[in-house]
Amino acid sequence: MLSKEEILSFLEEIPDPEIPVISIVELGVVRDVLPSGKNIEVIITPTYSGCPAMKQMEDDVRKKLKEKGFEEIKITTTYSPPWTTDWLSEEAKLKLQKYGIAPPEESTTDKSFLTGKHKAITCPRCKSKNTVMISQFGSTACKALYQCKDCLEAFDYFKCI
């Protein structure tokens, strides 16, 4: 029988549908895999309640596990504990930055998210900290829109929740 680690490595091959440089495992959406012979249960959690990519991720998980020989695949959604950007690994954050998305710069434990006081966000292109928020909401639920005042490029910031 396959180990959890092996199964997770299969799921590592599934990119996030909106941000293809990181996998759904790195994103923290896959919470657990519970294999039992030829059957398996996968526990996932949504990044945002209304994330429209969840259905796509479920379909991708099913397809991948079918390819790997599993027969009955059950996908269960859990809301607890709620997803947080703290689950993104340093490696994943670096990948985001290379892709042009500024990774979350704060930890949710410092509460700056709640008070609205942000640390300076680094421009993913020119690394300047001279940036300004254009919009609290961006192209997807998980991002806000910023602009760099040095290179003048607008960029997405992965909101810290």
């Binding site: 309640s49 209304g50 859990t78 809301y79 709620p82 919009s135 909401f137 929740i161």
Partner: protein
């Protein structure tokens, strides 16, 4: 009323409040005052739709009669919806949409913070997830009320008109019913009356900061819980439900 019936009614009402508000907000899609606000409202609407979906799924599971989140959303008539009247009010201008949102965000944040301690694990889980999102929404709506109130004469007048029109729907937030009372004893629902004063204080502080005044001697509207709605809900449902009712086999 059994505990199961109470839990179904209670969860469905939480879902209805989210679903109807989300549908209203998405009416702004492509019509926002500028691009960033268009994106903001679409995102906020999406979060609230997500919450509605989770709650509807759970309500359907609790009921256990084969209904799904889709049949609950699309195949009930206006009299069977139990959302608060404020959620179904028309968007009006942007000041009205934002005053409505600020009132609801402030209430929802208190409600879901309490619900995250519910003894019902599913409700507690959905609530814990929602807190983060509502916090973000509230920052947005509060900042707009402040901006409108302290903006031009025109924006202030519009925000004041919105407040005059919407305040009469705030009494409904703090009503309770049999289902809620029953679940309160079980540690599942929360006592909304316990944070009424706190909510009013926060609202008054926001409106004072924005230079707006609360209307006096307001007669509080009621009826949502009993399925007695303002005329606006039926029109909203007609649009929201048209496709699945015309093509019941449609899949998406």
């Amino acid at each position: 009323m059994t505990k199961q019936e109470a839990l179904f009614n209670y969860t469905l009402r939480l879902a209805d409040n989210s679903l109807i508000l989300a549908q209203r907000l998405c009416e702004w899609t492509s019509k926002g005052p500028f691009l960033e606000e268009d994106l903001a409202l679409t995102n906020i609407s999406l979060d609230i739709f997500g919450r509605a979906k989770s709650l509807l799924e759970y309500a359907a599971r609790v009921e256990g009669k084969g209904r799904t989140e889709d049949t609950l959303a699309f195949f009930r008539n206006d009299r069977q919806f139990t959302n608060n009247l404020i959620c179904e009010q028309e968007n009006g201008d942007y000041a009205k949409t934002m005053v409505r949102q600020a009132m609801i965000d402030c209430f929802d944040l208190m409600l879901y913070t309490e619900l995250s301690k519910s003894k019902d694990e599913t409700i507690a889980g959905i609530a814990a997830k929602s807190i983060k999102e509502i916090t973000y929404h509230k920052r947005h709506s509060f900042s707009w009320v402040d901006r409108f109130g302290n903006g031009t004469e025109e924006s202030k007048t519009r925000a004041q008109n919105a407040l005059n029109e919407l305040w009469r729907f705030s009494g409904e937030f703090f009503e309770t019913d049999e289902a809620e009372q029953l679940l309160l004893k079980e540690g599942i629902s929360v006592d909304v009356k316990a944070f009424k004063e706190k909510w009013e204080k926060e609202m008054v502080a926001l409106f004072e900061k924005a230079g707006l005044t609360l209307p006096e001697n307001t007669f509080m509207q009621t009826g949502g819980r009993k399925g007695i709605h303002t005329e606006h809900l039926a029109y909203l449902l007609a649009e929201m439900q048209a496709l699945p009712r015309m093509y019941p086999d449609a899949k998406w």
